[in-house]
Symmetry: C2
Subunit: 416 residues, 2 copies
Amino acid sequence: MKKYVKNLAKKAKEASYKLARLDSEKKNAILFKMADCLLENKDFILAENAKDVKAAIKNKLQKNFIDRLALTEKRLSEMSESLKEIAKLPDPVGKVIDQYQRPNGLKLKKVRTPIGVILVIFEARPNVTSDCAGLLFKSSNIAILRGGADSVNSNKAIAKVLESAIASSGLDFKPFFIIEKTDHKIVDLLLSENEYIDLVIPRGGEALIRKVVEKSKIPVIKHYKGVCHIFVDKEYDMGKAIRICVNAKVQRPSVCNAVEKILVHKDIANTFLPLLKSELDKYKVEIRGDSSSRRILKKIKKAKEEDWFAEYLDLIVTIKVVASIDEAISHINFYGSHHTDSIITKNASNAARFTREVDSACCFVNISTRFSDGFQFGLGAEIGISTDKIHARGPMGLVELTTYKWVVEGDGQVRE
Amino acid sequence: MKKYVKNLAKKAKEASYKLARLDSEKKNAILFKMADCLLENKDFILAENAKDVKAAIKNKLQKNFIDRLALTEKRLSEMSESLKEIAKLPDPVGKVIDQYQRPNGLKLKKVRTPIGVILVIFEARPNVTSDCAGLLFKSSNIAILRGGADSVNSNKAIAKVLESAIASSGLDFKPFFIIEKTDHKIVDLLLSENEYIDLVIPRGGEALIRKVVEKSKIPVIKHYKGVCHIFVDKEYDMGKAIRICVNAKVQRPSVCNAVEKILVHKDIANTFLPLLKSELDKYKVEIRGDSSSRRILKKIKKAKEEDWFAEYLDLIVTIKVVASIDEAISHINFYGSHHTDSIITKNASNAARFTREVDSACCFVNISTRFSDGFQFGLGAEIGISTDKIHARGPMGLVELTTYKWVVEGDGQVRE
């Protein structure tokens, strides 16, 4: 198996040099063809997906897991549409980011280039196969895609269909490689191929991502979890604060940009907290609180120390009363996950302090944390969200799937 | 020792939040003070350095190692001058890289921020201590500096002097931490502190860097080695080609941007190679060659397979005759180190192909590979060179020591 993996990684690297030569027009035409092929072969894909769903039911997997796994005609159209949208996005590759001339006549350019070979490890969401294949192809990166074992038939079917679209376009290399073997050992082997694979993007639960980081000899970009905060400051618009807190918690609680903790300035806690609670009660949100908030809101659960670190991904929120913006910032930097945090305030200097001092990928002012998303940011598509400090931070689109090189032209210059 | 390391890393992270609040003016004033203190305490630093040099001689370390270790008054002035130069460079922190508004009124800004805590691991060059302390301070990053065991007295002395400059400036935190313990285990422990340390930059030989990558749970930016190529194309200016090849090889052969391999187009090999050899002979450069170049240049050594991968860092060069630009590009991508490669050509479309298809951090046209350097690129200072694909590629200056955050302002917007 080691030989199989090395060979695959080596082939991927060789293909990356061919893909780097493909122009935008050709790439876009292929993306449109991929989109069409998905629809033309929908019966085949749905039949293969049904096998995975049947097995998942038999294996008594969780309902929301099966929901994510199951494809429908509507979902397939969305996948197809998404490939067309990617085709329409501007191509970052080849763009000159910066250029200048040195006194000795050297002309320097920083030019965007593909990263090379990118391994994406994800759980059982078959749409990720086509989304990632599309995003990585458009940014001229070779994709190695390893989906969850529970969606292996769906992934194989989607890959087969996309490959037929590519073959009919006359490419003489494979722009993506689907790992069909479900053996876990194969992932460990892939994560050792740092000579050929340039980057790993794991998508899924915290346990999966921690395992990948632990094993990988290749750089990894990831977020472990989203423990997002809203801090409601002393000078604030009550209506907006309520609307934002409720939206951030209930609009889609299962995702990483949903709010998990609400910090409230002590001077407004007595008026704001009861109102907030009565709104959250309408959506059956469980509230846990520190001792101050429990004095105001009777009968709420006591928050334990681990609650402040917790990503619930559910209709639960923990509330704390803070004495100042300083306490709010310190709390967020200590307990948070450096993903997305929002301040609700009318005070411009507090907004400036919050966005400067909170050490998170996304620092928001007077909006819902739910906006932390590549589409909402206008990136057009998203490969994931990074809470890392290097390369990319926050939502990652096509540009974040590129690197740059220095192109320097001269006329015979040498170093003195 | 584990507790000591965790405590140090945690303190560094806490300090990073304080450093992030310091403005440019204050940082620059402190850098000037650090520069002055180095000169004011030169006798102390030189005396401590003499201890290291004495021990190195006693331990029979190599001459060029001792050369790099030994400080002189002149070197100390250069270190001091370098801190002043860093003070004068523009501060990247807080710079808005991009800003735009979304149809729903959200105002998005990408703002440069410090990375946080950066661990620099280096060998016995005491000037690296002050250079790194300066660069990381200016970019508002907390530095953890671990120098080679053979320069421990020098590093401690420099750190003590710089710390006194900082203390007299009224900072209530330490902006850098020198690891004084020489036990190797401490490095392994530091490399596990991925909760508090954001980035590792190893500087030194390939063996050191491979060890760091192997052990680190923290992202690492590095280059293993510089196997730089020059490809002399068919249509070329002979005078420039000779001058560039000779400069790239002999001007400073011990550094990573010196040329190690010269590829020559077959159509010009008969005229070019004898001229090149007669010039290189003047500098006593040992030439190794493939079979074609050995037919033209009699009596040169035969290049073995491992020669094509080798970084000599010495007056040795390997020469190959290639049939085409395609062969040159494939050879460079396969055998090279993705550092810096240069084409000598009058053909603009070949120059464009070379700079697009060679997968290296720096792709040059008609200049010496020796220009691959932060100062030469006009970055003002350099923390190192990256052959990685993510975050930064090629020479890294202050900007490359920052990341960004998304600051998004609205007026009560929520997700539909």
